[in-house]
């Protein structure tokens, strides 16, 4: 593995290797404190995403490495019209690894051609965001002890939510996984997820509109934000944004060991009152994201610890 552009580049074995590494980092952080000494990570964020950028930077610092980069396009050469290929070729001269966020789909793939160093996709428009999926998967692994025989509820914007599509793809490779897809009609998963992924593999799924009705069956509930920027008009957004709000009340019917995940930031789709519930895992997910990014950086830089 030279780059990580799409989560499906990783086999389940490679994924397990990253998870094992992350678990070892969690158990023995001191062992990794100087693992990337003298190495530089470039965070090239052509659109702002403070959380993702900080997670990559924290990951590199905890490995004893350094960080360079920019956090928005107008402070970079892209604002002067430089191509992605030229920008990363330049950066590749300074950095040992690149984490790149870009508003256009496929930009990180373009970057891999000229960077000369490993490129990690830190989100490309509405397309892929593999390190978010790594965070999700480590969280599931730590909460559930594995990936098999789980009933997996995904709720909210399943149409535009890129994290949802990656997660369904990644989870569909494990035995005994069932999906409950909870969304308004307008925001259902794209058809190809059903016709190209779930149906050919005979994976059980249900498309439903009621979060409450689905709740008792779920082992994992993955909540997503209904994002304003994905809508073409304000009226549609206002009508749909409050449809699926998770409250302590709705959780009464849930399993005792449900794990509630959310890629964050949340707006109001999970009531703050849920935060103290032991089943709320979304802040653990943030921390898990850092550990998986550390594991990924080690793997791509081929650092042996």
């Amino acid at each position: 593995m030279k780059n990580l552009i799409d989560i499906m580049q990783l086999s389940t074995d490679e994924l397990q290797e990253l998870i094992d590494r992350a678990m070892d980092i969690i158990a023995n952080p001191a062992k990794y404190a100087e693992a990337c000494h003298g190495k530089k990570l470039a965070t090239l964020f052509f659109e702002p995403s403070t959380r993702t950028r900080l997670s990559f930077e924290a990951a590199m610092y905890e490995l004893g490495g350094n960080v360079i980069g920019f956090s928005e396009a107008n402070s970079s050469s892209a604002a002067k019209g430089e191509s992605v290929a030229d920008t990363v070729r330049t950066v590749g001269c300074y950095a040992d690894i690149i984490a790149m966020r870009h508003p256009k789909e496929g930009a990180p793939l373009v970057a891999t051609r000229t960077a000369g160093v490993p490129v990690v996709n830190a989100g490309d428009g509405g397309h892929n965001h593999p390190t978010q999926t790594l965070a999700d998967l480590l969280t599931i692994y730590r909460e559930k002890g594995g990936f098999e025989n789980l009933t997996f509820g995904l709720c909210g914007d399943l149409k535009f939510g890129r994290t949802v599509h990656s997660l369904i793809s990644a989870m569909s490779r494990y035995k005994g996984v069932k999906f409950v897809l909870i969304s308004p009609e307008e925001l259902r998963v794209p058809r190809y997820i059903i016709t190209d992924l779930l149906e050919p593999k005979h994976i059980p799924y249900a498309e439903v509109t009621s979060l409450e009705a689905a709740m008792p069956d779920l082992d994992i509930l993955y909540m997503t934000r209904v994002q304003r920027e994905r809508f073409f008009n304000e009226a549609d957004y206002m009508r749909l944004k409050d449809t699926y709000i998770l409250t302590p009340d709705k959780l009464r019917a849930a399993k005792k060991d449900l794990a509630i995940l959310h890629p964050l930031p949340r707006v109001n789709e999970i009531s703050v009152a849920v935060d103290d519930d032991p089943r709320a895992c979304y802040f653990k997910q943030v921390l898990n994201g850092k550990y998986m990014r550390m594991a990924l950086i080690l793997k791509l830089l081929e650092v042996n610890v």
Partner: protein, 142 residues
């Protein structure tokens, strides 16, 4: 109807009926000085009806483009009045700069230098996706 035999040239056979003119245009056959015959709705054992194009000269053909537009085509190269070579086309694994990605969020929409590349993801469904954004290719193939 009888169309004269070719001594040296190319016969594109088993063209999907109705698609002959598109292929004529895409291959730029209107620009050739040699004899070109377009036969529409010929009887076909395999398909019922087919189109045929006869070109009175051996020209360079892009089999990738042809295979993408109409994978059922048979290309017969005629030399000295005899069949010298026969190619059965198939859908190419990749097509470059034949079709353009229409997704406004795709990197190809802002970076003019990039080649538009599509990868065959499902041969049965004849489905191609953009290698950058994975949008399905605009339909040329039925």
């Amino acid at each position: 109807m009888i169309i004269g035999q070719i001594k040296d040239g190319i016969v594109l056979d088993h063209i999907t009926a109705g698609r002959g003119m598109d292929i004529y245009r895409i291959l730029g056959l209107d620009k050739l000085d040699c004899t070109v015959a377009m036969i529409k709705n010929a009887d076909s054992v395999k398909k019922g009806k087919k189109d045929i194009i006869k070109i009175g000269q051996v020209i360079d053909l892009d089999f990738t483009v042809l295979g993408y537009i109409d994978p059922g085509i048979t290309v017969n190269i005629i030399q000295d009045g005899k069949l010298a070579k026969r190619e059965h086309l198939s859908l190419p694994e990749r097509v470059t700069d034949i079709i353009h990605c229409k997704n406004p969020r795709c990197i190809t929409s802002t970076e003019q230098e990039l080649r538009h590349e599509f990868r065959l993801v499902d041969r049965e469904k004849k489905l191609y996706r953009c290698i950058y954004c994975e949008s399905p290719a605009p339909k040329v193939v039925d």
